[in-house]
Protein backbone atom coordinates (compact mmCIF):
# COMPACT_ATOMS: atom_id res chain seq x y z
CA UNK A 1 0.00 0.00 0.00
CA UNK A 2 1.37 3.44 -0.78
CA UNK A 3 1.66 6.16 1.82
CA UNK A 4 -1.28 8.24 0.61
CA UNK A 5 -3.61 5.28 0.97
CA UNK A 6 -2.14 4.42 4.38
CA UNK A 7 -2.52 7.99 5.51
CA UNK A 8 -6.18 8.00 4.44
CA UNK A 9 -6.84 4.83 6.42
CA UNK A 10 -5.03 6.32 9.40
CA UNK A 11 -7.07 9.53 9.25
CA UNK A 12 -10.30 7.54 8.89
CA UNK A 13 -9.44 5.65 12.07
CA UNK A 14 -8.70 8.89 13.91
CA UNK A 15 -11.94 10.47 12.64
CA UNK A 16 -13.89 7.43 13.80
CA UNK A 17 -12.43 7.93 17.30
CA UNK A 18 -10.51 4.66 17.13
CA UNK A 19 -7.29 4.81 19.15
CA UNK A 20 -3.99 4.40 17.36
CA UNK A 21 -1.85 1.67 18.95
CA UNK A 22 1.95 1.22 18.83
CA UNK A 23 2.01 -1.39 16.06
CA UNK A 24 -0.41 0.49 13.78
CA UNK A 25 0.87 2.37 10.76
CA UNK A 26 1.15 6.10 11.46
CA UNK A 27 2.52 9.10 9.54
CA UNK A 28 6.15 9.76 10.44
CA UNK A 29 5.24 13.26 11.53
CA UNK A 30 2.52 11.98 13.88
CA UNK A 31 5.15 9.76 15.50
CA UNK A 32 7.67 12.60 15.76
CA UNK A 33 5.14 15.07 17.13
CA UNK A 34 4.01 12.56 19.72
CA UNK A 35 7.56 11.73 20.82
CA UNK A 36 8.24 15.43 21.21
CA UNK A 37 5.04 16.18 23.08
CA UNK A 38 5.03 13.10 25.36
CA UNK A 39 8.71 13.42 26.23
CA UNK A 40 8.38 17.15 26.97
CA UNK A 41 5.48 16.25 29.18
CA UNK A 42 7.56 13.54 30.93
CA UNK A 43 10.49 15.91 31.43
CA UNK A 44 8.10 18.48 32.91
CA UNK A 45 6.91 15.97 35.51
CA UNK A 46 10.51 15.17 36.44
CA UNK A 47 11.78 18.75 36.55
CA UNK A 48 8.52 19.72 38.28
CA UNK A 49 9.72 17.84 41.35
CA UNK A 50 12.48 20.39 41.92
CA UNK A 51 10.62 23.59 42.88
CA UNK A 52 8.43 21.67 45.30
CA UNK A 53 11.24 19.47 46.60
CA UNK A 54 12.75 22.75 47.74
CA UNK A 55 10.08 22.93 50.49
CA UNK A 56 9.93 19.34 51.72
CA UNK A 57 12.34 19.98 54.58
CA UNK A 58 10.66 23.26 55.48
CA UNK A 59 6.97 22.33 55.29
CA UNK A 60 5.20 23.89 58.30
CA UNK A 61 3.95 20.60 59.79
CA UNK A 62 4.48 16.86 59.62
CA UNK A 63 1.13 16.55 57.83
CA UNK A 64 2.15 19.05 55.15
CA UNK A 65 5.52 17.36 54.79
CA UNK A 66 3.89 13.96 54.23
CA UNK A 67 1.46 15.46 51.69
CA UNK A 68 4.23 17.23 49.79
CA UNK A 69 6.38 14.09 49.74
CA UNK A 70 3.44 12.10 48.35
CA UNK A 71 2.82 14.74 45.71
CA UNK A 72 6.45 14.88 44.60
CA UNK A 73 6.52 11.08 44.48
CA UNK A 74 3.42 11.15 42.27
CA UNK A 75 5.20 13.51 39.85
CA UNK A 76 8.05 11.00 39.55
CA UNK A 77 5.48 8.29 38.81
CA UNK A 78 3.82 10.47 36.19
CA UNK A 79 7.17 11.01 34.51
CA UNK A 80 7.65 7.24 34.35
CA UNK A 81 4.19 6.57 32.86
CA UNK A 82 4.94 9.12 30.18
CA UNK A 83 8.47 7.93 29.38
CA UNK A 84 7.02 4.44 28.86
CA UNK A 85 4.31 5.83 26.57
CA UNK A 86 6.99 7.65 24.53
CA UNK A 87 9.07 4.47 24.33
CA UNK A 88 6.21 2.65 22.58
CA UNK A 89 6.94 4.97 19.63
CA UNK A 90 10.42 3.52 19.19
CA UNK A 91 12.69 5.80 21.18
CA UNK A 92 14.86 4.49 24.04
CA UNK A 93 14.73 5.66 27.65
CA UNK A 94 18.42 6.56 27.71
CA UNK A 95 17.98 8.75 24.65
CA UNK A 96 15.03 10.53 26.24
CA UNK A 97 16.91 11.13 29.49
CA UNK A 98 19.91 12.30 27.52
CA UNK A 99 17.85 14.84 25.61
CA UNK A 100 16.75 16.34 28.92
CA UNK A 101 20.17 16.34 30.57
CA UNK A 102 21.93 17.88 27.58
CA UNK A 103 19.34 20.63 27.34
CA UNK A 104 18.20 19.47 23.92
CA UNK A 105 14.66 18.76 25.08
CA UNK A 106 12.28 21.30 26.53
CA UNK A 107 10.09 21.05 29.59
CA UNK A 108 7.32 23.31 30.85
CA UNK A 109 8.69 26.81 31.45
CA UNK A 110 6.68 27.20 34.62
CA UNK A 111 9.30 25.18 36.51
CA UNK A 112 11.92 27.80 35.79
CA UNK A 113 10.34 30.11 38.35
CA UNK A 114 11.57 29.98 41.97
CA UNK A 115 9.53 28.89 45.02
CA UNK A 116 10.24 31.72 47.45
CA UNK A 117 7.72 31.15 50.23
CA UNK A 118 5.52 28.37 51.60
CA UNK A 119 2.55 30.00 49.86
CA UNK A 120 4.24 29.20 46.55
CA UNK A 121 3.59 25.52 47.28
CA UNK A 122 -0.09 26.42 47.62
CA UNK A 123 -0.03 28.45 44.42
CA UNK A 124 1.70 25.68 42.48
CA UNK A 125 -0.84 23.07 43.49
CA UNK A 126 -3.82 25.32 42.89
CA UNK A 127 -2.71 27.13 39.72
CA UNK A 128 0.08 25.13 38.09
CA UNK A 129 -1.48 21.73 38.70
CA UNK A 130 -4.88 23.25 37.97
CA UNK A 131 -3.68 24.44 34.56
CA UNK A 132 -1.93 21.13 33.91
CA UNK A 133 -5.13 19.24 34.74
CA UNK A 134 -7.07 21.20 32.09
CA UNK A 135 -4.62 20.00 29.52
CA UNK A 136 -4.43 16.47 30.89
CA UNK A 137 -8.17 15.93 31.05
CA UNK A 138 -8.28 16.80 27.36
CA UNK A 139 -5.40 14.40 26.67
CA UNK A 140 -7.32 11.48 28.23
CA UNK A 141 -9.11 11.50 24.84
CA UNK A 142 -6.00 11.88 22.70
CA UNK A 143 -5.80 9.61 19.64
CA UNK A 144 -2.69 7.66 20.69
CA UNK A 145 -3.70 4.78 22.98
CA UNK A 146 -0.67 4.53 25.31
CA UNK A 147 -0.64 8.33 25.84
CA UNK A 148 -4.38 8.40 26.58
CA UNK A 149 -4.06 5.54 29.08
CA UNK A 150 -1.15 7.21 30.87
CA UNK A 151 -3.24 10.38 31.09
CA UNK A 152 -6.18 8.59 32.67
CA UNK A 153 -3.92 7.31 35.44
CA UNK A 154 -2.34 10.73 35.89
CA UNK A 155 -5.66 12.56 36.08
CA UNK A 156 -6.90 10.19 38.78
CA UNK A 157 -3.88 11.07 40.91
CA UNK A 158 -3.62 14.72 40.05
CA UNK A 159 -6.81 16.04 41.58
CA UNK A 160 -5.46 15.80 45.13
CA UNK A 161 -2.51 17.92 43.99
CA UNK A 162 -4.74 20.82 43.06
CA UNK A 163 -6.93 20.50 46.14
CA UNK A 164 -4.04 20.41 48.62
CA UNK A 165 -2.66 23.59 47.02
CA UNK A 166 -6.00 25.40 47.14
CA UNK A 167 -6.38 24.32 50.77
CA UNK A 168 -2.96 25.77 51.66
CA UNK A 169 -3.93 29.06 50.00
CA UNK A 170 -7.30 29.16 51.76
CA UNK A 171 -5.75 28.54 55.18
CA UNK A 172 -3.14 31.27 54.65
CA UNK A 173 -5.79 33.67 53.37
CA UNK A 174 -7.80 33.14 56.56
CA UNK A 175 -4.70 33.53 58.75
CA UNK A 176 -2.85 36.59 60.02
CA UNK A 177 -2.48 39.70 57.86
CA UNK A 178 1.06 38.60 57.03
CA UNK A 179 -0.07 35.12 56.01
CA UNK A 180 -2.78 36.54 53.79
CA UNK A 181 -0.25 38.87 52.23
CA UNK A 182 2.03 35.91 51.59
CA UNK A 183 -0.79 34.05 49.81
CA UNK A 184 -1.67 37.11 47.74
CA UNK A 185 1.97 37.63 46.82
CA UNK A 186 2.24 34.01 45.62
CA UNK A 187 -0.91 34.42 43.54
CA UNK A 188 0.48 37.66 42.08
CA UNK A 189 3.69 35.95 41.00
CA UNK A 190 2.22 32.66 39.73
CA UNK A 191 -0.92 33.88 37.96
CA UNK A 192 0.57 35.02 34.67
CA UNK A 193 3.13 32.23 34.32
CA UNK A 194 0.26 29.77 34.92
CA UNK A 195 -1.70 31.30 32.04
CA UNK A 196 1.41 30.98 29.87
CA UNK A 197 1.40 27.23 30.51
CA UNK A 198 -1.35 26.83 27.91
CA UNK A 199 1.14 27.90 25.26
CA UNK A 200 1.02 30.55 22.51
CA UNK A 201 -2.36 31.98 21.58
CA UNK A 202 -4.14 30.15 18.76
CA UNK A 203 -3.28 32.85 16.25
CA UNK A 204 0.43 32.08 16.77
CA UNK A 205 0.33 28.35 17.32
CA UNK A 206 2.20 26.26 14.79
CA UNK A 207 0.80 22.83 15.61
CA UNK A 208 -2.34 22.66 13.47
CA UNK A 209 -1.86 18.96 12.71
CA UNK A 210 -2.27 18.20 16.39
CA UNK A 211 -5.96 19.01 16.09
CA UNK A 212 -6.46 17.18 12.80
CA UNK A 213 -4.79 14.07 14.24
CA UNK A 214 -6.69 14.52 17.51
CA UNK A 215 -3.51 14.58 19.55
CA UNK A 216 -5.01 17.73 21.02
CA UNK A 217 -8.76 18.13 21.22
CA UNK A 218 -9.08 21.74 22.32
CA UNK A 219 -7.06 24.80 21.45
CA UNK A 220 -4.69 26.63 23.82
CA UNK A 221 -6.99 29.65 24.06
CA UNK A 222 -10.09 27.57 24.75
CA UNK A 223 -8.43 25.76 27.63
CA UNK A 224 -6.91 28.97 29.00
CA UNK A 225 -10.33 30.64 29.05
CA UNK A 226 -11.98 27.75 30.93
CA UNK A 227 -9.14 27.82 33.46
CA UNK A 228 -9.57 31.56 34.03
CA UNK A 229 -13.35 31.29 34.41
CA UNK A 230 -12.98 28.56 37.04
CA UNK A 231 -10.07 30.05 38.95
CA UNK A 232 -11.50 33.55 39.32
CA UNK A 233 -14.45 32.09 41.20
CA UNK A 234 -12.14 30.00 43.40
CA UNK A 235 -10.06 33.05 44.26
CA UNK A 236 -13.18 34.93 45.31
CA UNK A 237 -14.19 32.12 47.67
CA UNK A 238 -10.92 32.36 49.61
CA UNK A 239 -10.78 36.16 49.42
CA UNK A 240 -7.74 36.61 47.17
CA UNK A 241 -7.49 38.96 44.19
CA UNK A 242 -6.42 37.92 40.69
CA UNK A 243 -3.67 40.36 39.61
CA UNK A 244 -5.36 41.57 36.43
CA UNK A 245 -7.13 44.93 36.40
CA UNK A 246 -8.77 44.14 33.05
CA UNK A 247 -10.51 41.10 34.48
CA UNK A 248 -14.26 41.53 34.04
CA UNK A 249 -17.27 39.23 33.61
CA UNK A 250 -18.71 39.48 30.13
CA UNK A 251 -22.44 38.78 30.22
CA UNK A 252 -22.57 38.32 26.45
CA UNK A 253 -19.84 35.71 26.06
CA UNK A 254 -20.47 34.25 29.53
CA UNK A 255 -16.72 34.32 30.07
CA UNK A 256 -14.30 36.63 31.80
CA UNK A 257 -12.54 39.23 29.69
CA UNK A 258 -8.97 39.58 30.83
CA UNK A 259 -5.68 41.41 30.17
CA UNK A 260 -2.68 40.62 28.07
CA UNK A 261 0.01 37.97 28.56
CA UNK A 262 3.57 39.27 28.42
CA UNK A 263 4.75 37.09 25.53
CA UNK A 264 8.23 38.59 25.66
CA UNK A 265 8.65 37.10 29.11
CA UNK A 266 7.23 33.79 27.88
CA UNK A 267 9.62 33.60 24.92
CA UNK A 268 12.49 34.60 27.11
CA UNK A 269 11.92 31.80 29.62
CA UNK A 270 11.37 29.27 26.82
CA UNK A 271 14.67 30.42 25.30
CA UNK A 272 16.44 29.49 28.53
CA UNK A 273 16.68 32.85 30.25
CA UNK A 274 14.15 32.36 33.05
CA UNK A 275 15.10 32.88 36.69
CA UNK A 276 15.96 29.19 37.32
CA UNK A 277 16.64 27.51 33.93
CA UNK A 278 20.31 26.85 34.65
CA UNK A 279 19.76 25.83 38.25
CA UNK A 280 17.03 23.30 37.31
CA UNK A 281 19.09 21.60 34.64
CA UNK A 282 22.17 21.52 36.87
CA UNK A 283 20.10 19.92 39.65
CA UNK A 284 18.84 17.22 37.24
CA UNK A 285 22.33 16.48 35.95
CA UNK A 286 23.67 16.26 39.50
CA UNK A 287 20.84 13.94 40.59
CA UNK A 288 21.52 11.70 37.59
CA UNK A 289 25.25 11.57 38.25
CA UNK A 290 24.89 11.14 41.99
CA UNK A 291 22.46 8.29 41.34
CA UNK A 292 24.85 6.38 39.09
CA UNK A 293 26.10 4.15 41.93
CA UNK A 294 22.52 3.14 42.75
CA UNK A 295 21.90 2.01 39.19
CA UNK A 296 25.23 0.18 39.13
CA UNK A 297 24.47 -1.49 42.44
CA UNK A 298 21.05 -2.59 41.15
CA UNK A 299 22.68 -4.13 38.09
CA UNK A 300 25.32 -5.87 40.19
CA UNK A 301 22.71 -7.18 42.61
CA UNK A 302 20.57 -8.52 39.75
CA UNK A 303 23.61 -10.27 38.28
CA UNK A 304 24.49 -11.81 41.65
CA UNK A 305 20.93 -12.98 42.19
CA UNK A 306 20.74 -14.56 38.76
CA UNK A 307 24.04 -16.39 39.38
CA UNK A 308 22.72 -17.72 42.68
CA UNK A 309 19.50 -18.98 41.04
CA UNK A 310 21.50 -20.64 38.26
CA UNK A 311 23.79 -22.43 40.74
Amino acid sequence: MDNTKLEELFQAKVDAELKIEPKDWMPEKYRRNLIRQISQHAHSEIVGMLPEGNWITRAPSLKRKAILLAKVQDEAGHGLYLYCAAETLGIGRDELVNQLLTGKAKYSSIFNYPTQTWADIGAIGWLVDGAAIMNQVMLCRTSYGPYARAMVRICKEESFHQRQGYEIMGILARGTAEQKEMAQDALDRWWWPSLMMFGPSDANSTHTESIKWKIKRQSNDELRQIFIDRTVQQAEVIGLTIPDDKLKWNEETKHYDWGEIDWTEFNNVVAGNGPCNKERLAARVKAHEDGAWVREAASAYAAKRSKRTAA
Binding site: K23, D24, C84, E87, D94, E157, S299, A302
Partner: protein
Protein backbone atom coordinates in the same frame (compact mmCIF):
# COMPACT_ATOMS: atom_id res chain seq x y z
CA UNK B 1 26.97 -13.33 34.08
CA UNK B 2 28.31 -9.84 33.63
CA UNK B 3 26.42 -6.80 34.89
CA UNK B 4 23.76 -5.44 32.61
CA UNK B 5 24.44 -1.88 31.70
CA UNK B 6 21.70 0.34 33.09
CA UNK B 7 20.61 1.36 29.63
CA UNK B 8 20.04 -2.29 28.74
CA UNK B 9 17.67 -2.94 31.63
CA UNK B 10 14.80 -4.83 30.06
CA UNK B 11 11.28 -3.48 29.77
CA UNK B 12 8.70 -5.28 31.90
CA UNK B 13 4.97 -5.27 31.28
CA UNK B 14 3.06 -4.93 34.52
CA UNK B 15 -0.23 -6.67 35.37
CA UNK B 16 -2.11 -5.87 38.56
CA UNK B 17 -4.92 -7.68 40.28
CA UNK B 18 -6.92 -5.01 42.06
CA UNK B 19 -8.96 -7.37 44.25
CA UNK B 20 -8.97 -11.06 45.08
CA UNK B 21 -11.12 -12.88 42.56
CA UNK B 22 -10.55 -10.42 39.73
CA UNK B 23 -8.25 -10.88 36.73
CA UNK B 24 -4.78 -9.38 36.49
CA UNK B 25 -5.01 -6.37 34.21
CA UNK B 26 -2.28 -4.69 32.18
CA UNK B 27 -1.47 -1.28 33.68
CA UNK B 28 1.74 -0.21 31.95
CA UNK B 29 5.42 -0.99 31.84
CA UNK B 30 8.74 -0.09 33.43
CA UNK B 31 12.45 -0.84 33.25
CA UNK B 32 14.19 -2.92 35.91
CA UNK B 33 17.36 -5.00 36.22
CA UNK B 34 15.48 -8.19 37.09
CA UNK B 35 12.03 -9.58 37.89
CA UNK B 36 12.25 -8.99 41.63
CA UNK B 37 13.16 -5.33 41.13
CA UNK B 38 10.44 -5.00 38.53
CA UNK B 39 7.91 -6.19 41.12
CA UNK B 40 9.21 -3.74 43.73
CA UNK B 41 9.26 -0.86 41.26
CA UNK B 42 5.76 -1.77 40.06
CA UNK B 43 4.56 -1.54 43.65
CA UNK B 44 5.95 2.00 43.89
CA UNK B 45 4.87 3.15 40.45
CA UNK B 46 1.46 1.51 40.06
CA UNK B 47 0.05 0.82 43.54
CA UNK B 48 0.61 3.98 45.59
CA UNK B 49 -3.12 4.13 46.38
CA UNK B 50 -3.91 0.51 47.24
CA UNK B 51 -4.70 -0.26 43.61
CA UNK B 52 -3.37 -3.77 43.87
CA UNK B 53 -3.16 -6.93 45.83
CA UNK B 54 -1.04 -8.96 43.44
CA UNK B 55 1.47 -8.04 40.73
CA UNK B 56 2.69 -9.97 37.69
CA UNK B 57 5.69 -8.78 35.71
CA UNK B 58 6.48 -10.15 32.24
CA UNK B 59 9.51 -9.28 30.10
CA UNK B 60 8.07 -7.26 27.21
CA UNK B 61 10.25 -9.28 24.84
CA UNK B 62 8.40 -12.47 25.87
CA UNK B 63 5.07 -11.21 24.54
CA UNK B 64 3.99 -12.20 21.04
CA UNK B 65 1.16 -10.22 19.53
CA UNK B 66 -1.23 -10.50 16.60
CA UNK B 67 -0.49 -8.03 13.88
CA UNK B 68 -2.81 -5.07 13.32
CA UNK B 69 -2.46 -5.25 9.50
CA UNK B 70 -4.05 -8.70 9.43
CA UNK B 71 -6.71 -7.71 11.91
CA UNK B 72 -9.57 -7.99 9.41
CA UNK B 73 -8.76 -11.41 8.00
CA UNK B 74 -7.61 -12.75 11.34
CA UNK B 75 -10.82 -12.04 13.21
CA UNK B 76 -13.40 -12.40 10.47
CA UNK B 77 -14.19 -16.10 11.03
CA UNK B 78 -16.30 -14.85 13.96
CA UNK B 79 -18.14 -12.22 11.91
CA UNK B 80 -20.89 -14.41 10.43
CA UNK B 81 -21.66 -16.53 13.47
CA UNK B 82 -24.39 -14.57 15.14
CA UNK B 83 -25.79 -17.91 16.42
CA UNK B 84 -23.03 -17.87 19.05
CA UNK B 85 -24.95 -15.14 20.86
CA UNK B 86 -28.03 -15.83 22.98
CA UNK B 87 -29.93 -12.97 21.34
CA UNK B 88 -29.95 -14.94 18.03
CA UNK B 89 -32.72 -17.21 19.30
CA UNK B 90 -36.47 -16.51 19.37
CA UNK B 91 -38.08 -17.41 22.64
CA UNK B 92 -41.83 -18.00 22.93
CA UNK B 93 -43.71 -15.29 24.74
CA UNK B 94 -44.30 -16.00 28.39
CA UNK B 95 -41.41 -18.44 28.88
CA UNK B 96 -39.58 -17.61 32.09
CA UNK B 97 -36.04 -18.00 33.39
CA UNK B 98 -34.51 -18.61 29.95
Amino acid sequence: MSNLNEKDWPLWEIFIQSKRGLEHKHVGSLHAADAQMAIENARDVYTRRQEGNSIWVVPASAISASSPEDQGAFFDPADDKAYRHPTFYTMPEGAKYI
